[in-house]
Assembly symmetry: C2
Homo-oligomer: 157 residues x 2
């Protein structure tokens, strides 16, 4: 597997994959091309035999000088259980540390139990919100009306 920085031209390949990998949920609007143009030295793709099987889109926070944020991570459904996600996260953690930062944040929906379990396994902690959903602390209406979110933070060593 090759992990490398994303290029602007990867967007044409990745954008149509998103709704497919997310089982038909309309997700591609959440990933406009700007992330591939303006944050491409902290975003990665994973390829196997030239096929994109995963990607991670992240950035260094402009407002918080010790933080970085992961906006979007996707892994091809046919290639899960191959540690692709783990390798992408670790690549991101390394670039964050190289930039002298030690906190990584990300956000997910309370319905996404797989994502919640995955982030806990990867060493993220759930931030204390203002509501509980199925035993998980969430921030009500975080991403707009009825868009509750689970907020994660991981401190890098």
């Amino acid at each position: 597997m090759d992990i490398r920085l994303v290029k602007g031209s990867d967007y044409n390949a990745i954008s149509p994959l998103i709704n497919e990998w997310w089982g038909g949920r309309q997700m591609s609007d959440m990933l406009p091309k700007l992330f591939f143009v303006h944050f491409n030295e902290t975003s990665y793709t994973a390829e196997i035999n030239g096929e994109i099987v995963g990607f991670l889109i992240g950035f260094l926070s402009q407002s918080h000088s010790d933080e970085a944020y992961i906006h979007f991570v996707g892994v091809h459904p046919g290639y899960r259980k191959n540690n692709i996600g783990k390798k992408l996260y670790n690549e991101f953690f390394n670039v964050v540390k190289e930039n002298g930062r030690n906190i990584v944040r990300c956000v997910t929906s309370p319905v996404n139990k797989v994502s919640i379990a995955y982030h806990i396994k990867m060493g993220f902690e759930i931030e204390e919100g203002n509501k509980e959903v199925d035993g998980v602390s969430v921030f009500a209406n975080y991403d707009g009306p009825n868009q509750d979110r689970v907020l994660f933070a991981k401190k890098l060593d």
Copy 2:
């Protein structure tokens, strides 16, 4: 009118306004809260008597050290023709220059004729794309399949 930097808490007020100000188009997914958390020293709201009547969400490009990008601008439909947009853009241009940068980029849909005319009036130039729509040069499928975009750039003095 007061123009000030956005705060995280403005998101709760602004997010529900977006679809309303855009005449019912589903736009709010394009503005997740992360922009109010991680780019809030280059993003502004305009208020009249404590009511939010406009906002501009922008950032300094992480990948291109001489560039900045405007992601989203909205003005209350009842307060147009009041130069609110112009004041928000000028505030952003100033912060970009203060950060030693001199190119501002943004992107719009070819259907949004008002936005195209507005950016030209504000001194933006349209970048040469690979397709023409109603006499305007566009980048085909720029933001995903069937999502053509007009790309603008403005050089600051």
